[in-house]
């Protein structure tokens, strides 16, 4: 064999080996890259792909002008890793227990509401027993123990530095948010509150609850490939589902007006010490709730102040018998339909009237008066007679046209629609009682809305407490819902009823305390008996509601005391002064110019006083004349009887007057 031939053989062998090797490698490559591609690619993805859930922030709540009412405050949660707790560089088990104690003591000193023993117990639990999928018990390391949650951000930053200085290992700080209410008790019952639990906000009540869907942020995720050290590999595939923060809510509330109402309500509570009280200020043209306050109230930042009594939203949830503040609705309807005019005389029976077998009383005796005086002096009998004349069907139509028995459209839940029986369920007494605010239950919001309708000329308007919601450039304004057609067919109805209501705050009216210098104030008092255990009690809701300036109102204001315990229980005395105080300050804040000078105002009032005095003199004279005539009649009758006994007759004189109780149209 020649050398060349042996070389050739060797080379051929090498080539064959190389080819075999190449084929083998190719087959392995095929098996791995082609046949098992999906399986192995999936495994690799699982190992080196990370998915992180990202959360947006919950929307915040502001007043109309952008003043923060409810906000998200960054906080930190402090988490321990019990399996890896150690100080410095030593990991000896015995030393770890001492270190757990040191760490627990450290956090008890630095954090509020943290107990050292409890932290020590949590950090000492290095493992726990669990069951695998076959049901066998296995022991696993415990890597999560809560040390403190919701720690103030600045405090947490400082603690983080300290932990680093002290070389505590196994302690981590994770960012979170908490809901905070910077105005404390202001508007608390309306705003409500939200709890934070398991990384979620859970709304409890108020705006937090009714607009929860709008305020809730949407979650997103980031899916990316990471290197062995956990770092995001930028040039590799990644997918990002963006988060969306929740909408910010802008209310119709004006903080300065809210502050005014809250302060005056506090003063009223100090003065008359009621069981509860509330006030609501509304724009009659748009239905915007400019301010709404209640007592008792609570501080959402301090859950210890939350009780059933203090956290109830009485404005929307409470249905109460309103009393005399219902009268203007009935009278305005009667005026509009032509049943009565302002000058129609009504006999108020000197304060006692029997109808359908039951007596109806007035708080003070009123005789025959025009309809104007029925409102001014708040005669129950006068109103009932007008209502009886209208009939039950018209009364039902009147009250429903003012929105009673319906919700107001405000964005608050729950909201009561009150208790207003359908017409077929009325009894014989209903027509004389509903008109004076008995037997019917309405919410303060319904009352405010109904008075807005009188103030704006009869246009039904839904109440609004949310003005707009915003998320970046996405701004959505809540529409003003207002009927196009007035419920008043007669264009002079508004003026007629307003003039009557102005009389309430003038001499002879039931609430001169509510008069404001330089303005005409149209209002109505209400003193309604509370129903307790199914029966009328001697406790009262004392209310005053009105709008000012009367001719072109800037706002409607309702103030109510629930059971005033000091001083007078009447609406005019208990709530009237507070109405005046709030209205005066609100008018000044709104830069509303007085309608007349002080001198003109005083002149008007003294003229009204004079007219009242003259009327009283005339009435006294009339009463005196009637009394004399009655005495004369009595004497004649006695003389007749005496002469009959003696057998003689005496000619009788015709009587000079006779009682009649009819209502003339």
């Amino acid at each position: 064999m020649t050398l060349f031939r042996s070389m050739a053989i060797r080379m051929a062998l090498v080539y064959i080996l190389l080819i075999c090797g190449f084929c083998y490698v190719s087959s392995v490559l095929y098996a791995v890259q082609i046949k098992r591609h999906d399986e192995l690619f999936g495994k690799a993805q699982n190992t080196y792909t990370t998915r992180i859930e990202t959360h947006g922030t919950r929307g915040e709540i502001f007043d109309f002008g952008g003043s923060l009412l409810v906000g998200n405050i960054p906080t930190m949660d402090i988490i321990g890793d019990p399996a890896n707790i150690y100080i410095l560089n030593k990991k000896d088990k015995d030393r770890t227990e001492t270190e757990c104690r040191m760490i627990a003591d450290f956090f008890e000193k630095e954090c509020e509401n943290v107990k050292s023993d409890e932290i020590f117990r949590r950090l000492s639990r290095r493992s726990f027993t669990t069951k695998d999928k076959d049901g066998n018990e296995i022991e696993q390391d415990c890597h999560y123990a809560v040390i403190a949650t919701g720690v103030d951000y600045q405090t947490a930053k400082r603690l983080k530095e300290r932990v680093k200085e002290l070389s505590f290992h196994g302690i981590s700080f994770t960012g979170s948010y908490r809901r905070k209410y910077p105005k404390d008790t202001m508007l608390a019952n309306i705003l409500g509150l939200a709890n934070f639990s398991a990384d979620k906000f859970i709304p409890v009540q108020g705006i937090e609850r009714s607009l929860n869907d709008a305020m809730t942020a949407t979650s997103g995720s980031m899916v990316f490939e990471r290197a062995r050290n956990g770092r995001h590999v930028t040039f590799a595939n990644s997918r990002n589902e963006p988060t969306l923060d929740g909408y910010d809510i802008f209310l119709t509330i004006r903080e300065p007006l809210q502050a005014i109402v809250e302060e005056e309500l506090d003063l009223m509570c100090e003065r008359v010490k009621p069981h509860a009280a509330w006030a609501i200020l509304v724009d009659p043209e748009t239905g915007d709730v400019l301010a709404a306050a209640q007592r008792p109230t609570f501080n959402p930042n301090d859950r210890n102040t939350m009780t059933q009594e203090s956290s109830t939203n009485r404005l929307s949830e409470l249905a109460l018998e309103p009393g005399s503040i219902m009268k203007p609705f009935v009278i305005s309807y009667a005026l509009d339909k032509g049943f009565v005019t302002p000058g129609t005389m009504v006999d108020c029976e000197q304060g006692v009237w029997k109808y359908a077998g039951r007596l109806l009383h007035d708080t003070h005796n009123v005789g025959k008066v025009p309809v104007t005086e029925v409102i001014k002096q708040s005669s129950n009998i006068g109103t009932a007679k007008v209502s009886v004349m209208m009939g039950a069907k018209n009364l039902d139509a009147a009250l429903r046209s003012f929105g009673f028995g319906q919700k107001t459209g405000i964005q608050l839940k729950p909201e009561t629609s009150g208790i207003f029986r359908p017409l077929e369920k009325w009894d014989s007494l209903s027509v004389s009682r509903f008109c004076i605010g008995q037997g019917i239950a309405v919410s303060p919001l319904q009352l405010a809305r109904a008075y807005c309708m009188i103030a704006n000329g009869g246009y039904k308007v839904d109440l609004r407490i949310v003005d707009r919601i915003e998320r970046g450039d996405d701004v959505r304004v809540m529409p003003v819902v207002r009927e196009k057609k007035s419920i008043f067919a007669n264009p002079t109805t508004k003026k007629m009823i307003t003039d009557m209501m102005i009389g309430v705050t003038e001499a002879g009216g039931t609430c001169t305390e509510a008069a404001i210098e330089g303005f005409h104030v149209a209002g109505k008092t209400g003193t309604a008996q509370k129903v307790i255990n199914g029966a009328y009690s001697n406790r009262y809701y004392a209310s005053f509601v009105g709008f000012v300036p009367a001719e072109k109102p800037k706002f409607v204001l309702l103030v109510t005391c629930d059971d005033p315990t000091v001083g007078s229980r009447y609406g005019g005395s208990a709530s009237g002064p507070t109405f005046k105080a709030i209205a005066e300050r609100a008018l000044k804040y709104m830069y509303v110019q007085p309608q007349m000078s002080r001198e003109e105002w005083l002149a008007e009032r003294s003229a009204a006083q004079k007219a009242l005095h003259e009327r009283k003199v005339r009435e006294d004279a009339l009463v005196q004349a009637r009394r004399e005539a009655r005495d004369r009649q009595l004497k004649e009758q006695q003389a007749k009887q005496t002469s009959k006994k003696n057998g003689t007759t005496v000619a009788s004189r015709p009587s000079s007057g006779s009682k009649s109780s009819t209502v003339r149209r």
Binding site: T2, L3, F64, S67, L68, L69, G71, N72, I73, P74, Y153, Q154, G175, K180, P182, K183, D184, M186, R231, H232, V233, T234, F235, R254, E255, A259, E262, E263, L290, K554, R585, L587, K588, Y589, M590, Y591, V592, Q593, P594, Q595, M596, S597, E600
Partner: protein, 146 residues
């Protein structure tokens, strides 16, 4: 020399054969080397770019963290501002410093309307008083003040 080696005259077949074989092998090797170099350079460039990208991403991540920190601080400040503006706080300050504050009298405030070169100021007790608008920057405000 033995049977395993055979010396041939290199100047005869081998040298000529080698000379004939060398040009195309050398050319092949050179081309392969060139291609491999280009590929290698591309790899290096890509790795360099990746490294730069990673570095920038790290810096971006740091800056993002700083922005988040700043946003948290801004949030804290906004909250603090809202607390300072609350009525309880303002009332406390008024009491503390004994400030003689009072509400503005509406007569101190005038609303101005512009009517084509004229300025109208509402009279205190009704009606308007029109005067020539001499100011180019006369403000148009709505009644009400809210």
């Amino acid at each position: 020399m033995n049977k395993f080696t055979k010396k041939t005259n290199p100047s005869e077949d081998g040298a000529e054969t080698g000379r004939k074989q060398t040009p195309w092998v050398a050319g092949l090797i050179f081309k392969m080397a060139l291609i491999m170099s280009i590929i290698f350079a591309a790899f290096c460039a890509r790795l360099h770019l990746n490294d730069k990208t990673e570095q920038l991403a790290r810096e971006a991540s740091e800056i993002r963290k700083q922005i988040e920190e700043k946003q948290k601080e801004i949030k804290m400040k906004e909250f603090e501002l809202a607390q300072l503006k609350s009525r309880d706080n303002i009332n406390a300050k008024i009491r503390e410093h004994n400030l003689a504050l009072r509400a503005v009298n509406p007569s101190q405030v005038r609303h101005m309307k512009r009517f084509e070169g004229q300025v109208s100021t509402p009279s205190l007790y009704g009606g308007d008083t029109r005067v020539a608008d001499t100011s180019a920057n006369a403000m148009k405000t709505s009644a009400g003040g809210i």
